[in-house]
C-alpha cells in the first residue's frame, strides 16, 4: 500500500492507523476501568470528590500505541470529613484503592497495577484538593522530593494541549517517543512541541515534525518549557534535564537522517496492509450502519 505514497500521505494514513475512536476496544476498556475505579472511590468517599479523566483522553491526543488512563480524584476545599490534610487525601485514596488493586505510589499519582496485558499501559489515579470553591486550581500531594505540595490546574493543562492547534504533531511524536523508548515524560514532550510550533501552526504536519526534530537536534538546550498552570511554581527543569535533552537531540538527529534517506516509512515502518477489498468492506459495513441514509443529488449538471 505504501509503495506509491508520498510523505504527506504516509503521515495521514499513519495517523489514521493510530486513531482510537469512541467505539474502539481500547477506549471501551478504559471506560470500563474508569467506571470500576469511580465506583470504588464513590463507595468510600460518597459524592464528595470530583472524578474525571485527565491525561491524553481529556486532551484529545490518545494514540493507539501510547495511551494511559489518568483519573483525577479531587476533593472540595472544605471537605474535612474525608481527609484533613493533603497527605491524608493522598493516603486515604491509596487505602481505598488498595482494597481492590495493587497500588504503586508515584510522586503525585497512585498507579494501579496488572490491569492490562500491555506492559506499557498504566492506570494512574491522581488525588488532590481544590484550592478554592471555584474548583479549578488544585493542590496535589508530592509523595517524594522536598516540596510536599504542588499547585496545578487540570483544566488549564487540557486547554493548553487540546487548543494548541498542533495535536496531530503531538500524536505522531508521542508514538515516536514510545517507539524510541525515550524517557522524556509525555507532558514535557507535549509542552516542548507546543512551544516549538507556536509560530508554525499553519505548516503542514510534515513541516511541523521536521521543525520540531531539527530544533531538538540543533537547539535542544535553548528550549524552555513552563507548566501553563503554574509557570513559576512548578519547576520542570528536573523532568527536562541535560540527560533528557541530549538523548532527545541524538534520537532526533537519527530520525531526521532516516527521513532524508527513506522517508517517514523508514521511521515508523510499513503501514498495516489494508487492501482495497478490506477498505471497501469496512466502508460498506459503515454505510449499512446508517439508519436513515440520504442520497447525493445535484440541482444542475457540472
Amino acid at each position: 500500500m505504501t509503495n506509491n505514497m508520498n510523505n504527506k500521505d504516509y503521515l495521514k494514513v499513519f495517523l489514521d492507523s493510530q486513531a482510537l475512536s469512541d467505539d474502539s476496544t481500547e477506549l471501551k476498556e478504559l471506560q470500563k476501568i474508569r467506571g470500576e475505579v469511580e465506583e470504588l472511590l464513590r463507595d468510600e468517599f460518597d459524592s464528595s470528590p470530583t472524578i474525571k479523566y485527565g491525561g491524553s483522553k481529556a486532551k484529545g491526543t490518545l494514540v493507539r500505541e501510547s495511551y494511559d488512563l489518568d483519573i483525577i480524584c479531587y476533593f472540595p476545599r472544605d471537605d474535612d470529613e474525608n481527609a484533613e490534610t493533603l497527605e491524608e487525601v493522598f493516603n486515604n485514596v491509596r487505602k481505598a484503592l488498595e482494597t481492590k488493586y495493587t497500588v504503586v505510589t508515584k510522586t503525585q499519582a497512585l498507579r494501579l497495577m496488572g490491569l492490562s496485558d500491555k506492559a506499557d499501559f498504566h492506570v494512574d489515579v491522581v488525588p488532590g484538593r481544590y484550592v478554592d470553591d471555584a474548583k479549578s486550581d488544585t493542590f496535589l500531594y508530592r509523595a517524594s522530593g522536598d516540596k510536599k505540595r504542588l499547585k496545578t490546574n487540570l483544566d488549564t493543562h487540557i486547554k493548553h494541549v487540546r487548543d494548541s492547534g498542533v495535536s496531530d504533531a503531538i500524536k505522531v511524536l508521542k508514538v515516536w517517543r514510545t517507539r524510541k523508548s525515550l524517557s522524556v515524560r509525555t507532558f514535557v514532550l507535549e509542552l516542548a512541541v507546543i512551544e516549538l510550533l507556536k509560530d508554525h501552526k499553519k505548516d503542514s504536519l510534515e513541516e511541523q515534525l521536521k521543525h520540531v526534530l531539527t530544533e531538538l537536534r540543533d537547539n535542544v538546550d535553548d528550549i524552555t518549557i513552563k507548566d501553563p498552570a503554574n509557570p513559576d511554581g512548578n519547576d520542570l527543569s528536573e523532568a527536562f534535564d541535560d540527560n533528557v535533552r541530549q538523548i532527545l537531540a541524538l534520537v532526533a538527529k537519527d530520525t531526521l537522517t532516516t527521513v532524508a534517506a527513506s522517508g517517514w516509512e523508514g521511521v515508523f515502518g510499513a503501514l498495516p496492509e489494508d487492501s482495497k477489498e478490506s477498505r471497501v468492506e469496512a466502508l460498506k459495513r459503515a454505510a449499512a450502519g446508517i439508519s436513515a441514509p440520504t442520497k447525493p443529488w445535484c440541482n444542475r449538471l457540472v
Binding site: 471497501v280 466502508l283 459495513r285 450502519g289 446508517i290 440520504t294 447525493p296 445535484c298 440541482n299 457540472v302
Partner: protein, 220 residues
Amino acid sequence: MSHRRPRHDQAQLDRLKNEVAQAFPELIASEEAGHLRFKGPFRIEYEGRRLDTYEIEIDLPQDYPDSQPIVRESAGRIPRAPDRHVNSDGALCICLPEEYWLHGFAERPLIDYISGPVRTYLLGNSLVELGAGWPHGEWAHGSEGLLQFYQEHLGPIDGRILRGYLDYLARPEVRGHWLCPCGSGKVVRKCHMPALRRLRDRIPPSVAAKSLSMLAASSK
C-alpha cells in the same frame, strides 16, 4: 408548522459554535459579519477504525436552517465530476432539499446534519473512489432526481403529474374537494390526501415552489 425563521443572532451563533466544538472539536469555527464557517478535518470512523479523513468547510447560509449548510471539500480531493455530485462552485450536493426537510434536519441540531447526511455523502464518496458506487444509491441530476424522490413517496408518476402535486404542496392549504393531481378523477380527500399530508407536514411550501419552478423550466 411555521417554516420561517429570523436571521441568526449572536446567541444562536454561539450556541452553534459550542455545539460543533463539543461534537467535532477539529472543525474550527470562524465568524465574519454574522456569517459562520467551520473548517477542518472530518474523520469517518466505524467499529473502532478510522476509515477516511476529509478536509471540509461548512458555511451556514443566512437563512440556515431553512436552507441546508453549504459543504465543500477543501483539499481538492473530490473532482467536480457528475458522478461525484459536486456543484460548479464546489458545493457538495449532499442531499435533496426535500430530504433535508423530510428527515427534519431543519429542526435538529447542526451536528445531526454533519454526522448524518455529510458523513453519509463522504463515506459514499470514499466507496466511489474505490469503484464501489454510492452505497445507498444516488438521485439523478436536476429535475429527474426530483421526480425520482417524489415517485418514492407518491408512486409511479410522471413529470406532468408531479407538477400538479408540487402545485398543491406549494399552496398554503389544500382543500379536500379539489381534484387529486394523480389524474384518477377523484377528489383529493378520497385519493392521495394522506400522502400529500405527510409531505406537507415536513416540506415547506417554499421548497415545493422551488422544485416546481425547476420542473417547469426543465419541461420547456
